[in-house]
């Protein structure tokens, strides 16, 4: 049980896929202008990651080693297309705002990385938890970045006005460079707090 707790908590902070491993940055920059899109994206990635880890782990003893990466890609791509179609049917506006970025979950390094590094060596239950943990780790960072960007950029949070009405949105944080700076600062703060440094 303690191990399970470790697996789910580790990626939230000490081994966060974005701030520590610096994976999946592309979508973290692209969809964090507003809370709404960031939240749906985080949800989609967490679902895909949890399911792909579970499925790949279930198949881990029968997947022929030579084609294991292709099989992983197949599973991940199918799940992503599934998620994309569900969004198009039930959350049309958001799916349009997310545009190609849902599709790009296929190439998100976190998903493939967890399949290779964890799901292939561990039983389905722990893999599922690991997928969920990493999905949540990604989600936390996305939500923090989106909160900062939406509040400073538009003066709102989840489309609710939080800044006084005279506040003019800051254009820089709405652009990709603003997201780069925010994520950079976040990585710096987090690494200082948990005292993790790259030594070489």
């Amino acid at each position: 049980m303690a191990k399970m707790k470790q697996i789910i908590l580790d990626p939230l902070s000490d081994n966060n896929p974005i701030t520590i491993q610096v994976l999946g940055i592309c979508s973290a920059l692209a969809v964090t202008i507003k809370m709404e899109t960031a939240f749906v994206m985080a949800l989609a990635l967490t679902c895909v990651l949890t399911c792909s880890n579970f499925i790949i782990s279930t198949l881990r003893n029968v997947i022929p080693h030579k084609i294991r990466m292709i099989v992983e890609m197949m599973v991940i791509a199918s799940l992503v297309i599934l998620a994309d179609n569900v969004l198009k049917a039930y959350m049309y506006d958001i799916s349009r705002q997310l545009s190609i970025f849902v599709g790009l979950i296929i190439t998100n390094c976190i998903v493939m990385g967890r399949a290779e590094a964890f799901a292939l060596q561990n039983p389905p239950r722990t893999s599922l938890i690991d997928g969920l943990g990493n999905g949540l780790g990604y989600s936390i960072v996305l939500i923090i970045v989106a909160s900062i960007r939406e509040i400073l950029g538009s003066g709102t949070w989840y489309d609710i006005r939080v800044m006084p009405s005279f506040y003019e949105g800051n254009g820089l944080v709405m652009l990709a460079p603003g997201a780069f700076i925010i994520i950079g600062l976040l990585i710096w703060v987090q690494r200082s707090v948990i005292k993790k440094f790259e030594n070489d």
Binding site: I63, P64, I67, S78, N85, A89, Y92, D93
Partner: protein, 248 residues
Amino acid sequence: MFKEDLKTIKFAAIICVVCSLILSTTVALLKERQDDNVELDRMTNVLKAFGQPITNYDGKPLNKEEVDGIFAEHIEEIIVDKESGDILEGKTSIDLSHKERKAKTSKDRTMLPLYQWIEDGKVTQYAFPISGSGLWSILYGYLAVDGSLTKFQGITFYKHKETPGMGAEIVKPWFQDQFRGKVFFKDGQLKRFEVKREGASPEDPHAVSGISAATMTGNGINVFINRDLAFYERYFSKIRGKEGVRDG
């Protein structure tokens, strides 16, 4: 060795079949709902081109019933013959052949749909579909013109696959708002309209500023907006100046 390879191929085949079955089933199940969304979005974009609010009193996007209601109250669709510019009496797009309805651009159509905005029994605006190649894909949109048939009222794009942050800026208000009030007909003839790469002064009556890093998208718009205007001009030239058409 051979046995091992055979096993690999078998596994690959099974995984392919399973994945494709799951995907095709979901796509088939969700298709109707997705098509409804696309259709509602298309109709909402007609309203947007006409400069109508597309949110209700609560600030929520209009739903299907509300959009249908506005269409029934204000919008009349007519079909114009592309060659002659005559109205095909009593026809709407439902009467068109499958091929006509699936045509991607006006080049492939022989009949052109035209929406009229009716206010107090008079036509005050016209809108029609525009489409053509951008950089990666065909851009689909609507262009609305005023009752005197000389100025743009609004433009929208509802379907495209351009690059986010670059060509995809065509859906943003800053780009679309520039079109309002631009003149496409002056001194008895069509004026060439242009999306200018180097930027256009807001006072320029026949041009708008392009999007940086999306020159090809702008060039595409230049081609099809002028082409589609020329097709519709065959009808507009017949009604321009007639009774019922007011000065804008």
